[in-house]
Symmetry: C2
Subunit: 199 residues, 2 copies
Amino acid sequence: MKLPQALTDLIESFEKLPGIGPKSASRIGFYLLNTPEEYLAGFAKNLVKIKSEVKRCSRCHGVSDNGLCSVCADGSRNQKQICVVERAVDMISMEKMGNYKGIYHILGGALNPLDHIGPDDLKIDELVGRVSGDMEIILATNPTIEGEATALYIKRRLESLNLENIKITRIGSGLPMGADLEFADEATLSRAMEGRRAL
Amino acid sequence: MKLPQALTDLIESFEKLPGIGPKSASRIGFYLLNTPEEYLAGFAKNLVKIKSEVKRCSRCHGVSDNGLCSVCADGSRNQKQICVVERAVDMISMEKMGNYKGIYHILGGALNPLDHIGPDDLKIDELVGRVSGDMEIILATNPTIEGEATALYIKRRLESLNLENIKITRIGSGLPMGADLEFADEATLSRAMEGRRAL
């Protein structure tokens, strides 16, 4: 059966989003058919306005309404501890955890030669510019091949600055809480063994 | 951490959609931040245009580009068999199954006194207007309290017409294919027993 073109177009728009398959997209499409016109107009407006209204924080490159994001604008945060993450959404996850009191730096991705993403495509120079002596830099890029390579590259760049009393750390890798050894993959188990601690 | 208002607004728009929880909505919101402006504008246009471009089929009340939907416009379909469903999306599911060759009637919902949906809010009069003698009416409303009540109501309305040679059927209820008796609920099992057939 041929669906109306406008409905097919809308379903395709939803299918392209992360985590939405063809079935969900179709369900959403038909659901929206029965919503009022003002609701759809509001939704459309919300889509378009993020480009003009969501700014990048001028310090950490996270998301903000105006100049600085709420973390950078908060003077009570520890300015001597920078947590480096790939994306703004990673910063939100960290903030949800709630017990990190330092500041952030968002790279905008990870090094990925296959996708032609090199150091100049990330906010690495900007990070280097923020680092001074007596600081801890926590490299919290994802524990993937790209994230590990990015962490290693940044470590070398920062070490070459020869700053005094600088500590470069990497977030811990291992078994996630609640996991089962039986189903853990080899790479994760190997990291868990390397990262073992005295009790 | 406070997110920019425009981003929060967009995430809330997605959260209201069926099947999308707060985590998925947030993921989509951050994903869309990194998409080009033209993409967002196209998405917004697709949202708004469904109201003006998707029409109701003048015969079955399903979705169509213009006057008739592709099923009603297809002269080869059996005009003496009407499958009555709650929503246009149910018709799409039936068409995907592929072996029904009759036509449809979309009610636009089911009777639901709690939501103040009575017979006049559904396309029941329109269905009655389409029914003539020598026909089969397959009541394929959902096997829920509302869907069962709607099927029963329609059955009584159609019987009161005293048409010749009219057959009113209800789609089968029972265990879905691939299900496990152990995990079936009592209502489904009870229906499966009632609906048992000679082998």
